[in-house]
């Protein structure tokens, strides 16, 4: 039984991969998008429980996507975690201004991110599943 569905948005494929892996291990179902526009499309179809969103992306950046999510009554309750290499206070403040629920700077620890997601979704830390052989 899945603990929830997470939408991971990043234009860097390896970051999407590692998040897919780590969240999968934790028992989450993961859907992915590689840019802002794709993210908004997936959002409608997949109705995720939480979104992990990169900021610097082509087409539509993370701030814009977050703003769109938070201004739509249908999606505004979905927690958004911004994930960015932009680590200055102003960048963070801007993130919270557009309605983000959390802001994590790169480089990040996948474990910490998972813990944060568990927290936001009111999930307890599950025992690590034994990886399948």
């Amino acid at each position: 039984m899945s603990k929830g569905k997470i939408l991971v948005v990043d234009d860097e494929i390896y970051i999407v991969h590692i998040l897919d892996f780590s969240l999968g291990m934790e028992g989450y179902e993961v859907v992915t998008a590689l840019d802002g526009e794709q993210a908004l499309e997936k959002l409608k179809v997949e109705k995720p429980d939480l979104i992990v969103l990169d900021i610097m992306m082509p087409k539509l950046d993370g701030y814009e996507v977050c703003k769109a999510i938070k201004s739509d009554p249908e999606t505004r309750q979905i927690p958004v975690i911004l994930l960015s290499a932009k680590g200055r206070n102003v960048d963070q403040k801007m993130g919270f201004d557009v309605g983000a629920d959390d802001y994590i700077t790169k480089p990040f620890s996948p474990r910490k991110l998972v813990e944060r997601i568990n927290q936001l979704l009111g999930q307890t830390v599950t025992e690590r599943q034994t990886p399948s052989t």
Partner: protein, 859 residues
């Protein structure tokens, strides 16, 4: 305007008024006298006399009125002259001047021409008494400078003006374009229409900037000396107006340049910060991938999921390599852009370099099944450039082409050479670049689409690096492309560096490398050691071939900010151009001395030396106004030359690539210690005369000029290390205890240590170290004997002993000059070299006579 100039105007104005009044009074007085004599000789003609007296009174009143009017007019001109502030106002002032000339000197026609420096022609700028046609004619005809100069013959000269009579007119029909007014019938001896009277407008340094020419005198008479004098006073006024206007223009120009420079600096700053943020983002991305994968791997150590482990390790490996490349590229680019990379230009064959690059690209091309090809080229295309850097450019362009060309495509290299330019072209059959993107491809980290960056891995700096290198060589790089068909990159390199205008940007430049702190220290050190009230440091602006003041002591701020001297002009410009020192004993008689800023010089002597890095003059140090008010001497020149060499040394430390800022710091500390030492020396009243005494002694012993310079310098710094020993030692009476003695014995070595960062002459250090050695071997620190002690050190030893004896110490009474000399003679052969003692005594006696060295009694 400063008060002093206003005051000058006021004096000048009142002088003119007085002059005018006196002239009138004098002529009236004459009249009175003659009338009086008429009265005395013919007492019977009483009535007639009364009438004449009345007439005289009336005349006097009219004359007075006219005089007043004229005076008012003159005053106005003078007032306008002081408030001139724009070109528009210049025309107005010139207009006023020509009308004032017309009124005051009684000429109906007045013309003022101004020399246009660029065209070398005298242009008509102001007119009085001329109709529109005449003005147009005069404006159309510009007088060439050479023609004007041909008029300046001594035979025509009256005071500073020239009067050329119609009878001697020598220019024939050459001036058929110029204007000759119709003055009607003229009697012989009267002023003729073709008579010419003009006053050159010359500046104080003697250069002519225009001339004032008059015609049609009201009294029809040819000019008197009085009239010429009047004209010349007014001409001076015109010169001032023109110079003010030129100054104003220069000021405006400087303001504009300053604004531009500020803008450029701001742009650069913006670019820099955006570069930093881009770099940090680009670095963080692979780092994030590496760290997150490693963490996942660590958590899965020991599990049997080997596929995942292998995948993650591969990603980690790839991304680590990417990070490494990225860091290398960023460093390379920032080094290139900071101008810190040294360019090693050498002639080499471009064809060979392209072949090498193709060889290196082979593997990468083979992986993508791309054919690399070089089009038939000349066997040899030689360019003088940095071989490694040029290969880098070709490699980067090749990599870029391979990266964006689909499998099976072609990348073709083509080389061509002309007389001045060599070309390398890299053509591919790749995906191409859309028109609007082409300008951005040389930007850092620019890749058209980030999806492409996954498909075509790279750091996005290759083209930026190529562009930097090419432009540094004074070349050009450009791209042409058609989306879907391919791109062509063309590099043009100048064959020889003389065709490369931008080289100087990246090479050593004092403006970029020397901090304000260091320049301030330089000026301070020079002023203190040389005992000069005014010291300035000028740097060479190579681009504009000018010198400007970087830092100064004893100069007003506006002079520091406003002075720019062209290479070759005035004293500093001459020094910068010739690379040799110049000692001017009388600035007023030296032709190189520009009039500019003359008022700052309290004394007539000026010393100016170049600061050279290698053979290149990067700056000029000027000093003036010796505290002692005496002129500078050759000894001062030797000392300042020596100091300038050390300054150059310190600057090099501050700018060298391969040295740490620690060395720059040490250089600064050395200079600060020298400043401190010079100040303390002055407190002890040695007043820098040590250098002079040492040099005079050295010269008597026949040492070379180079050694003189070293000696002068060492004499000024040899006790720098004493400050570290601490003042209590120096003030302590009686015999020194063993511990203190050991400390004192260290001071020569300390001095060497302190000045070492700016020292480059082994012999200077040697002299410092040995100046307390004694010829009998009982000196310190090494106990050298006789000739083992460098001659310079033996000289310093004698001079130092004399100084310390005659000046005394807090714990020891000062000796008289004679007693000190007797003491030197007594110790000659044991403590001192007899030869040196003799030379010193001769020198000091000779100097005593001329009083060039202030003796302690005099100080």
């Amino acid at each position: 305007m400063t008060p002093s100039i206003e005051l000058t105007w006021a004096l000048c104005a009142s002088g003119l008024l007085l002059w005018e009044a006196t002239r009138r009074r004098r002529s009236l007085r004459g009249e009175v006298r003659s009338l009086k004599s008429a009265y005395e000789s013919a007492a019977t003609r009483n009535e007639q006399l009364t009438h004449a007296a009345d007439e005289m009174g009336r005349l006097y009143r009219t004359e007075l009125l006219a005089s007043r009017k004229r005076a008012a007019r003159l005053k106005k001109v003078l007032e306008i002259g002081t408030s001139i502030n724009s070109n528009l106002a210049l025309d107005k002032v010139l207009h006023e001047i020509v009308h004032a000339v017309s009124d005051a000197a009684d000429f109906r026609i007045v013309l003022l021409r101004v020399l246009d420096e660029r065209s070398g022609m005298f242009e008509a700028r102001a007119f009085a008494g001329l109709d529109r046609d005449a003005i147009q004619k005069l404006e159309e005809y510009e007088v060439p400078k050479t023609e004007f100069e041909s008029w300046l013959k001594d035979e025509f000269r009256v005071s500073r003006s020239y009067f050329i009579r119609q009878e001697v007119k020598f220019w024939g029909d050459k001036d058929k374009d110029s204007y000759v007014p119709d003055l009607g019938e003229r009697k012989k001896g009267e002023w003729s229409a073709e008579d010419v009277l003009f006053v050159p407008l010359s500046t104080k340094d003697g250069s002519i900037i225009g001339y004032l020419s008059v015609d049609d005198p009201v009294d029809r008479r040819r000019p008197t000396a009085e009239v010429v004098e009047m004209l010349e006073i007014l001409a001076t006024q015109a010169v001032v107006a023109l110079e003010n206007s030129a100054l104003y223009e220069r000021l405006n120009e400087s303001v504009r340049q300053l604004e531009e420079a500020t803008e450029r600096a701001e742009e650069l700053n913006d670019l820099k910060s955006s570069f930093v943020s881009i770099v940090s983002h680009e670095l963080k991305t692979p780092l994030t991938i590496v760290l997150s994968h490693v963490e996942a791997l660590l958590e899965n150590v020991g599990t049997s999921n080997t596929t995942m482990q292998r995948d993650f390790l591969t990603v980690t490996h790839e991304q680590s390599l990417k990070l490494k490349r990225l860091i290398e590229s960023v460093l390379e680019l920032s080094q290139l852009e900071s101008g810190r990379v040294r360019m090693h230009r050498e002639p080499f064959n471009l064809v060979e370099v392209v072949d090498e690059a193709i060889g290196l690209l082979h593997e990468m091309a083979a992986e993508r099944r791309i054919t690399l090809r070089a089009e038939p080229a000349p066997r040899e295309v030689v360019v003088e450039a940095d071989r490694t850097l040029v290969r880098r450019v070709v490699l980067n362009l090749g990599q870029n082409a391979i990266k964006f060309t689909p499998e099976g495509g072609d990348v073709v290299f083509r080389i061509s050479g002309e007389a001045r330019v060599a070309q390398v072209e890299v053509k591919d059959t790749g995906i191409g670049i859309a028109g609007e993107e082409i300008e951005k491809i040389f930007d850092k980290f620019y890749q058209i689409d980030s999806t492409l960056s996954r498909e075509y891995p790279g750091v996005g700096l290759g083209l930026s690096i190529a562009k930097s290198i090419v432009e540094w060589h004074g070349g050009e790089i450009r791209a042409e492309s058609e989306p879907g068909k391919g791109s062509r990159f063309t590099v043009e390199l100048p064959v020889t560096p003389s065709d490369a205008g931008v080289i100087t940007h990246a090479t050593w430049s004092p403006t970029r490398s020397v901090s304000d702190h260091l320049t301030r220290l330089t000026v301070e050190m020079v002023a203190e050691v040389m005992n000069a009230r005014m010291a300035s440091l000028m740097l060479v602006d190579e681009e504009r071939e000018e010198l400007y003041i970087k830092a100064a002591r004893g100069l007003r701020e506006e002079v520091v900010c406003g002075t720019r001297i062209r290479m070759g002009e005035s004293v500093a410009g001459w020094v910068a151009e010739h690379g040799t020192a110049l000692l001017v004993t009388d600035i007023e008689s030296d032709p190189r001395f520009g009039r500019q800023n003359g008022h700052q010089y309290e004394t007539k002597s000026l010393l100016s030396v170049p600061v050279k890095v290698g053979d290149r003059v990067v700056g000029v140090i000027n000093i003036n106004n010796k505290v002692s008010c005496t002129p500078f001497t050759e000894d001062d020149q030797a000392l300042l030359t020596s100091l300038a060499d050390r300054v150059a040394r310190a600057w090099q430390h501050a700018s060298a690539v391969d040295t740490s800022s620690e060395q720059a710091e040490q250089a600064s500390r050395a200079m600060a210690a020298i400043i401190d030492n010079a100040r303390r020396a002055r407190l002890k009243l040695t007043s820098g005369s040590m250098a002079a005494k040492a040099v005079a002694t050295g010269r008597r012993l026949g040492i070379s000029e180079e050694d003189v310079q070293v000696l002068a310098y060492v004499a000024s710094v040899h006790d720098v290390g004493m400050a570290q020993i601490g003042t209590p030692v120096l003030h302590e009476p009686g015999k020194l205890d063993a511990e203190t003695w050991a400390l004192v014995a260290q001071h020569p070595a300390r001095t060497v240590e302190i000045v070492k960062p700016i020292e480059f002459q082994e012999q200077a250090a040697e002299i410092i170290l040995a100046h307390h050695e004694r010829v009998d071997g009982r000196g310190y620190p090494r106990g050298l004997k006789g000739d083992q002690i460098p001659l310079g050190a033996r000289i310093i030893g004698v001079v130092d002993a004399y100084e310390s004896m005659t000046l005394g110490r807090p714990y020891r009474q000062a000796m008289s000059h004679e007693d000190a000399l007797a003491e030197l003679r007594r110790c000659s052969g044991s403590q001192f070299d007899p030869k040196v003692v003799d030379a010193f005594i001769q020198a000091i006696v000779a100097h005593e006579d001329t009083k060039l060295i202030p003796t302690p009694e005099a100080a």
